[in-house]
Symmetry: C2
Subunit: 454 residues, 2 copies
Amino acid sequence: MSSKPTIPKGTRDFSPEEMIKRDYIFDIIKQTFRLYGYQPVETPAMENLPTLLGKYGDEGDKLLFRILNSGDFLSGITDDELKKRESSAISSQICEKGLRYDLTVPFARYVVQHHHEIVFPFRRYQIQPVWRADRPQKGRYREFFQCDVDVIGSDSLLNEYELIRIINDIFRKLRISVLVKINNRKVLAGIAEIAGIADRLTDMTTAIDKIEKTGMKAAVDELLTKGIPEESIDKLQPVLNIRGKTEDTLHELEKVLSSSVSGLEGLSELKVLFGYIGTERLDCDIEFDLTLARGLNYYTGAIIEVQAKDSSIGSLCGGGRYDDLTGIFGLEGVSGVGVSFGADRIYDVLTDLGNMESQKYRGTEVLVLNFGDESLNYGLRLLTNLHELEISAEIYPDSARIRKQLSYADARKIPYVIIAGEDEMKHNSIMVKDMSTGEQKEIGFNDLASFFSG
Amino acid sequence: MSSKPTIPKGTRDFSPEEMIKRDYIFDIIKQTFRLYGYQPVETPAMENLPTLLGKYGDEGDKLLFRILNSGDFLSGITDDELKKRESSAISSQICEKGLRYDLTVPFARYVVQHHHEIVFPFRRYQIQPVWRADRPQKGRYREFFQCDVDVIGSDSLLNEYELIRIINDIFRKLRISVLVKINNRKVLAGIAEIAGIADRLTDMTTAIDKIEKTGMKAAVDELLTKGIPEESIDKLQPVLNIRGKTEDTLHELEKVLSSSVSGLEGLSELKVLFGYIGTERLDCDIEFDLTLARGLNYYTGAIIEVQAKDSSIGSLCGGGRYDDLTGIFGLEGVSGVGVSFGADRIYDVLTDLGNMESQKYRGTEVLVLNFGDESLNYGLRLLTNLHELEISAEIYPDSARIRKQLSYADARKIPYVIIAGEDEMKHNSIMVKDMSTGEQKEIGFNDLASFFSG
């Protein structure tokens, strides 16, 4: 293989410069999670396919990366089955495992599996990559990192409020102005009820989810295409057009939804949550958005989404409450709420905003030049001393020309170079060159600590 | 699906308690790498199969996890091909990608692909999981973490020495006594030459690699089985029996290998390396081991392996020099040397030794009790103050019975509980309960900072 190697479409290498900026983001997120008492867990990259299948809708099932069984993977399939060439049937016979698609389903699986070791309410965070066989495009990758934070085992709305505060703190520390949109699945269910399409909730939410992007007309067209009766749409439209301050909108909706138990329950939850939000001064803007639905089927209460105000890059964080998540794995009655931060999109926004300019890679502080003569041992001893002082330092591995060694220090942006040749060795001294000013200074071998701490 | 969910064989979940101990290991490794001037990179979990295939021998190819192509993966295969049921032929038609098997090959691919952005010599480290479809057993997992550190673009033996120092520092910080074994592939090649089996180097090294585990007799039997002539084995045995201090062994071998250019070159490299090692007092034991071969085919010079002295768990770290690694991707003449630390085995050894007892999960410091009455806002304000003081704190989300809230604090090992009910609110004070002593103390709302920093 002599042609230049490549990596799979939609995946990325991260260079040292990118790593330092990513770590900056992960550190802020992780520290905030821990400040609020969340505990880290990690789960394997692969899950058994039954754990994943059916959790993300038909579309999601198609986007799962499946792992071919080892060995003679065809042995369980008859010739007849093979001959039919039904990709999806065959794939479930030759693949038992898949790569995780998000962190929520593995977390639900974790909670059920380790149920007896967990103290509830369980606050956990998880920062790991996920994989989706999506069509790659700007801001959308096939391997990307999610940073999930969930509380499970409590249905108190204080949890929703806490997540809003975490969102607020993280984006404040990252210096990104954000708008937090909040809705409630029960309110959406109430609206569907009022419009007489309670059984078409998913179709309805999928359509209204698009109002913001494509406008009301496109949403109405989609509803029509899906066979929603015109009279239902007529009832929907004025409701979806309700605009204004959160307080007024909630008040308005209370009248419209007065006959829907579910709708009123959702409104009451929203009032409690916005009540909490009102008690403190937060940095982000927070509003009720009736058209926020998000694709995932498992939300049952609050729905949350965060957008950067100064960027068009889309959602940076989102989530909601799911009453039945562990139910799919046989553990009923455990309610949870959580959000997921998209580290890759946050990276893109921060890069666009220029907020990470100061996050330069701080690598080696000192390069010891290599003269390849008697002084080498002297240089090695020097290096050991630097490391004992916790100063990141390296020796140039070859006794190359000095000019070459200096240009390496330059290219690597190493601030100090130490010259410790035979002359210096005789004087038990070293010459320190400041690479930014070009200044050189001779100091005693034992003055290293004071020089570099000064 | 109502049966209890499971995870794939050979993979693991990590609980908060395990995560904190793993982070302890990763942090020591990472900080040491950085102290020596190594820079982080990351590569995708999946690589294109041509990048991986043929790099780990036939056995390695079988252990690769392959990812099924998305969509109609059977479309490129004819009925005739299907009918033949040749698993390996079909798998390469239906899978384009595989999970990375180690970090060395992806690193070689990275260097070739980003050649023009890299300053050589390039010191990089990489800490990521790898996947192998190996049969799981104690200490061997299908998903495990490698911590690789390599220098590429320099053939100086100072690099080998630097790696020994890194090994020394990391295991000293982890408080694991280790034995570092060093060999050189050129010496092995020299021995094969002397025994007249220069063309059977791989068979020879595979067999002698097992001497330590299964003894000389088993190694000889294996050589015979592989068709190595008895007279060659007769010549090998006395050489492999050479024992003693490194210096003496090297001296002894110099005589035996006097007619092999490669052998003498290897010996000379070992002498230089042990010369560097002799200049400084290191904590670990270091010895030349003629029977150390390690499986990997790509080593061309130094071979390094690290074993814990107080554990039978096997190799904790290993590596060597590879002159041709990027050559397989079309970039010739770039020599590299590196070692890989096995974080999972280090974890197991540290657990056996009890060295991580003090690495307890330090999570929430303070639990604010929830009385669900007027005092809730007071409690929320308190929580905000604690967070502003960077004190990890949470409020119990429900206004459950106090006994239940306290037993939650107990189970979570939260050291302090704050009682801030209506009485305290009236006095603008809070009651702090020390959960280890049971003592309670009333302090002013504004004395939080001094109480918790004191």
